[in-house]
Structures are given as structure tokens and as C-alpha cells.
Symmetry: C2
Subunit: 427 residues, 2 copies
């Protein structure tokens, strides 16, 4: 079974928002063995919507649409769906009740534009949207289905999880797509590719390898397509076992994980805590750590020491050392790490000081120069990096590199964990 996604809205074509819904939907459908063959973004005009729906429903089995259902008057999706599938707009009482409930809870009156959101084409099956005011709509035509959902990610996800995915699971055939991801950090794409040439040569034609680079690392994705789920699974497991032996020093986890998640798992398993002292990353490492739910178990806090005064007065960096070596130096970043660990009373501490840019670079310390230190009760590790000339990239790369340095130190100090980190536990 194949599916296509249609996203509706000038805001995507005009570049004012990024389409994150499609990625989420695609991932979920792939887990059911349903392949996304195309994603199409179109304008919210009757012509564009009618045309795209007509083409997609002819090309594939399932069409999932998002957007074009807001309370504001730039939306014309529902009348167009009426035209394509027949019927006319009718009030759906249970959806109106949900709308009244949402507004009532906030002590607000239901407006006329909100009331209109409870109107749906008489030709559809309504999918109750408990998280918002626009109901989902399911249409059937010639054995194919089209689902229209609001574009608000939280509402779309709720509808997918409660209504759409269970239906698609029933419909999907025996063909299985298996994706497995191996997460690496610390090696450029072309070097990884060269290291894995022999590995790629071994792959059968129904298993593919893709490289997915980002500031948080390069993810290696193995995708297999087969009607024999168990055989495919065991083949892919063997390939992952091969990777684990080939490039162990670069692998930090398997599956849908990230450096902040892995670090959280390690710290929890050894019952240790961490803090950060951040200059050029301005709290980004703390932000990445605390995005993970449950991080309060191992994260106690941070000092964002953007000014030198904060580095000396709060983190107790020696003012003379700072003046002699500059804020972006091994000496200062090491004192920042030690200072944070003492001040925040944590077992581990990360410190970062660098020049994110675009200003502040010098001949000897160009933009992109970053010193990173990690301190524990027994060790103090520090390294210098030169990243790029782009502020956002420097902040992101410095933050993830610091997390990886911490991960390496944690594993060095807790050799007993290695098998777990690279093993099933973190899959």
C-alpha cells in the first residue's frame, strides 16, 4: 500500500512556516509498512486543492491531508472536499460540544467562526478532534481513502493516533518495511562513507543504507522491504551487529534516540548528576538536556556565564587567568567546569566558551573557535574545536560536541556500561 501527503496552505509555499507534519506522518506510516511515495504542498485555493486531491487519489491508496481547516477566512478546504466527494456542509453536534467545552474551560464564548468549524461535508465520516476545534474528516472513494486533518501539529497527531493509524493498521498488507537507525557522532559523512564501503557492498538489493547528517550527528538508516518480516528483521540485526563492530567509537545509540537522551540514561543508571556552565552556547546545552522529560533526576542546573563578570563572580574563574588567556581558552573553560560542579554540587559538569560569531573573531581565535571542558570528581578533559563561520551552526555543534565529550568521559569512568549503551537496552 502506498500513500501520499498533501499539505495545504500558502504559509508553506511562501516559506513562512516549515512543514513538520509531513515528517511525523511519514515516520508513523512507514512503521505500518505503508510507503509514502510523494509529499505535495499546495496553495489553499479551490483549483489547487481539487487538482491535487484528484491526482493523488488516482496515484495511491491513501491520501492524508493537513491544513486548510483553521477558523480564519483563508480556508476553503471543506467546500472543495464537498465538491469532490459530494454532499453539503452540515453541523456536527459532537464536534460543536467539544468546541464549547474548550472555550468554556477558558471561560470564553464560542464565536461564530468557531461554530462554523463544527460544520463538515455530509459525505464524510467525522473523526472527533479532542484537542482542538477543527474535526477530522474521512472520505472513501473506489476502495481508497482520504483523510483531512487540521494543520496544528498537536491536533493532527491526536487524530492520527486515535483514529487514522488504527484504521491504516487494519488496512495494511503483509509487506513490511523495517527501518533501523544507528546514531553516530564525531566523524564527517565522507569519512564514514569510506569506512563503510565494504559494508555497503554486502547489502542485498532490498536493504538500503542512507546517511542523515545534522548538527546532532550522522544517523545511518537501514531500510528493508520484504514480505518476510522475521527473516528481514534478523538480516538487519546482523548488519547492525556488523556496524557495531566496525565503528564502535562513533556510535552513541540505536533507534530514535539522541545524545541528551543517552546521557540521561547513563546518568540515571549510575545515579549521578550533571550541571553546565555555558558562555557562547547561552543555555543551549541546558535547554537540550531539559527537553527530555524526567531530566530533573540528573540535571540540577546551569550558570549561563555570558559576561566575563559572571564567569569570575559566580563560577569563580580566576580574573587574572581570564585576563591573561582570554575567555576563550583552555584555562578558563576548565575553571568554568570545575566551578560549575562545585557551585551546583554535581558529579559531572560541562563548560563551553567560544566565539559563536559573526563578531568577536581574531587572527588567532577566529569565529567558530570553541573550548569545551568536562569535569568529574576524578577527571578534567578539555578540547579545542574550530567549527564554522555561522552562528547558529557553531552554537548547535558546540552543544552536541560537549554532550558527546561528557558521554565519552562517562563511559571511560564506567566501563561496565559499554555493553549496555551499544546494546539492546538503548534501542
Amino acid at each position: 500500500m502506498n500513500a501520499e501527503i498533501i499539505t495545504i496552505g500558502d504559509e508553506i509555499l511562501i516559506g513562512q512556516i516549515v512543514d513538520t507534519n509531513s515528517a511525523w506522518i511519514a515516520e508513523k506510516l512507514n512503521l505500518l509498512g505503508i510507503k509514502i511515495t510523494q509529499i505535495t504542498s499546495i496553495s489553499d485555493t479551490e483549483e489547487a486543492i481539487y487538482g491535487a486531491v484528484n491526482q493523488s487519489i488516482n496515484r495511491c491508496d491513501i491520501v492524508l491531508m493537513t491544513g486548510g481547516l483553521g477558523p480564519t477566512s483563508d480556508d476553503i478546504t471543506k467546500p472543495t472536499l464537498c465538491k469532490f466527494f459530494g454532499g453539503n456542509l452540515v453541523l456536527h453536534e459532537p464536534s460543536l460540544e467539544i468546541i464549547k467545552g474548550i472555550f468554556g474551560k477558558r471561560g470564553l464564548q464560542v464565536t461564530e467562526s468557531n461554530r462554523r468549524q463544527a460544520e463538515v461535508p455530509s459525505s464524510c465520516e467525522v473523526l472527533l478532534n479532542k484537542n482542538g476545534t477543527a474535526p477530522g474528516m474521512l472520505f472513501r472513494k473506489g476502495g481508497k481513502i482520504l483523510v483531512s486533518m487540521p494543520g496544528v501539529p498537536f491536533e493532527m497527531k491526536g487524530l492520527m493516533e486515535t483514529s487514522v493509524l488504527p484504521l491504516l493498521k487494519e488496512m495494511s498488507s503483509n509487506m513490511v518495511i523495517i527501518h533501523r537507525t544507528v546514531n553516530t557522532f564525531g566523524i564527517p559523512e565522507s569519512f564514514l562513507s569510506d569506512k563503510l564501503q565494504a559494508f555497503e557492498g554486502k547489502l542485498p538489493n532490498y536493504i538500503k543504507l542512507a546517511y542523515l547528517p545534522s548538527p546532532s550527528g550522522i544517523r545511518l538508516r537501514l531500510s528493508g522491504y520484504s514480505s518476510h518480516s522475521e527473516t528481514l528483521n534478523s538480516e538487519i540485526n546482523q548488519l547492525i551487529e556488523y556496524l557495531r563492530k566496525e565503528i564502535p567509537e562513533y556510535i552513541f545509540g540505536y533507534g530514535n534516540t539522541s545524545l541528551p537522551v543517552v546521557i540521561g540514561q547513563i546518568l540515571k543508571s549510575i545515579n549521578a548528576t550533571v550541571s553546565t556552565a555555558e558562555s557562547c552556547t547561552g543555555g543551549t546545552v541546558a535547554h537540550l538536556i531539559t527537553e527530555i522529560s524526567g531530566s530533573s533526576a540528573y540535571f540540577k542546573g546551569s550558570v549561563v556565564a555570558y559576561s566575563n563578570e559572571v564567569k569570575t563572580s559566580i563560577l569563580k574563574v580566576d580574573a587574572n587567568v581570564l585576563n591573561e588567556n582570554g575567555a576563550v581558552s583552555q584555562q578558563v573553560v576548565e575553571q568554568m567546569a570545575v566551578g560549575a560542579g562545585k557551585l551546583l554540587k554535581t558529579d559531572y559538569a560541562i563548560a563551553i566558551s567560544g566565539i559563536a560569531g559573526p563578531d568577536g573573531g581574531t587572527e588567532t581565535k577566529p569565529v567558530g573557535t570553541v573550548w569545551i571542558a568536562v569535569a568529574s570528581n576524578n577527571s578534567l578533559v578539555s578540547k579545542k574545536y574550530i567549527f564554522s563561520n555561522q552562528r547558529d551552526i557553531n552554537i548547535a555543534r558546540a552543544s552536541y560536541t560537549a554532550l558527546n565529550l561528557l558521554r565519552e568521559l562517562l563511559l571511560q569512568e564506567h566501563l561496565e556500561l559499554n555493553e549496555n549503551i551499544f546494546g539492546e537496552k538503548f534501542e
Copy 2:
């Protein structure tokens, strides 16, 4: 002139990466008056690439492609473009020189897979990519053009800015598309829509209004299409003037701005500094402030006080007050703000304490409960909010709401700034 974007790569269809390139390209083309009529994401197979190129180049004048040019072996874009446009792959020496330079600077050898990146179809004009190893390629056919670029955002942007956009500017006709954005915060979409019903009724048919909601506020976008650039511009200016009078309390800026940018402009203009004390937002406010280049002029630092111990020991929150009222309380968040201002010696301080979830909620303080305080030398403002039951949304909304509270306090204390903030200065 119309354009389409084609993004190549299973990683998008499989949902493992989000397509941010298209939004960036769309925004740039719209500024040139070139309308994006469709964005299509396809798999990196010969069949899909050939088919999409063939269809797009028939429908529109300009096709911009990204992706499918990496050094790894999952890429087959170049042979397919050879097939479509004719010619065969030839080595492009200047591109090879760039590749050698990039690797030389890092002290690395050029690998065979990197060398292959310098091969291009003989039917194309090469666009030198100074930021990476995959050259851009420009093809012409029947008065139409197709540009193929690498998918790495930094490299794609470099090629667009140095080669593609200047060319498109020359090609583009007299029709002008003008987009203007009014940024609001603190009012739900449906209420804003009701307030602006009369405004929407006044719009001529060639000017459209769109609502673009996100955790950072709702952006109102006016888009006008006309051959009379000056008339259109003055009409849109009048409409914006109307909005400014209709909803001044919700507007925080015009054009491509954000709350962190506006706050930076205000603080710089009054020569004041800010710090943050963050519990549930875990450094996100500091991260948002320091994403802005030049933020070191007004941002001194933060204390991320994730544990209660850090709140009392570093921010000097009274332990008895904390025990009596809990960490998520007016008393504690006010003491956090005052403590941060004193400790970090700043004129203004933001403090946030809440329950981001998914755990930690109680009957009286459910998940999503957040207390925010802003302190200055003269004022101490605090407010309680109940956001959602989603961790990521709670962190984002609390962070932006805190920034907006600071903005409101800054304007209250500096009435002379109002005209500027809502005026041309910040456009």
C-alpha cells in the same frame, strides 16, 4: 513567473528529516515576485526524479531542486539529469580544486567518493559551491531553467545567494508580490479573527490576509499581487496602519522579527541589561536570547535552577517560603527574579517556575501550570498561566510568554519607546 521546488531524498519521505530548505527558498523567491506553485518531495530513484522533473518543467518556468548530491552511494540524481537533459558526466576541475581545498584545510586526503562529486553532466552550467563538495548545476530547456543544488542547507543557501537569485532577479517580470507581516502575541487565533472581521471585509481581492500561529505568537501576513508596485505598497501600508490602531496591545513588531529580537532592540536602545532564572524552561529563554547575534550587549547570564537546592543556595530563595508554597508559586518565582537580578547585576530579570510535564502535576497545580515573574529596579510583576499538557509546548509557550512580559514591562517603564517599537524603526 512561477516556480516549483523538488526535494529529493528518502529521508524526507520516511520522515527522518524535516524539509527546511523549501521554506527558505520560497521566501527568497517571493521577494523577487516569483510565486511558488508547488513543492514536491520525492524518493531518490531514477523513476521518481525523471518523472518529477518532467512534470514540473512542463508546469512552470523555474524548477529548483535540492538534495540527491551527497558523497554517499544512495544518490543517483546526476545520471538521471544526464538522461533528461542529455550529455554525460565529466570532471569539473574548478570544483575538484574546491574539494581539495576543503579537505586540505582540515589536513585530510580527498577520497574517491569526494572526487566523484566534482563530476557533472556535460549539458549543465556549473555553479561553483564554495561551501561544500557538491557543485550546483544549471540546465536550460525551451526557455525554462532547472537548478540542482545539494541538500545541505548552508551549501544550498550559498549557491542561491551567489548564483541563482541574481539570475532569477534578471529573469523576473514586472508583477510584484508584496508580503508584509505583523507579529502579535497574547491572543488566540479565533479571537484575533473575530476582532479583524471588519478589517478583512475591507481587503481588495488582490490582497490576502493569513494567520500564522506558533508558540512564538500569531503572525498576520498581508500578501498583495499587482503590477503596480508603488500603489500596492501604499495600500498595504495603510492596512498595516489600520491594524496598528485596531490591536496595538497585541502587536510586538513588524516584518521578519521575533520577541528575542525586539527585546534586544529595546534593551540596547535604553542601555539596559537582562538575566534569567529558569526552572521548568531549563535555559530555553537564555537560549532564545543568545541565538541573536550581538546579545552580549544586553544579556549577562542566567541561572538554570532546576533543583530546589539551586533555587535556595544560588538564587537565595527563602527555603521556608519554598517549603510553604512549593517551587511553582508566586512567592518563589518573584524571589527567583529578584535573586537573579541581584546575583547577575542586571537591570531586568526574568524568572520562570512551572510544571512542564508529563509528570509532577497535582490537583491544584496541574501539568502546564507556570508562574512567571519579571523584575526591574522599580517593579516586580508576576503572573500565573495554565498552558497545555504537552512538555514541549509548555516549555516553548512559557519561554515566549516570559519574553513578552518583559517587553510589556520595558514599554511601561519607557513610554517614549512605544512609537518606535510599533513604528518603522523595527520594520
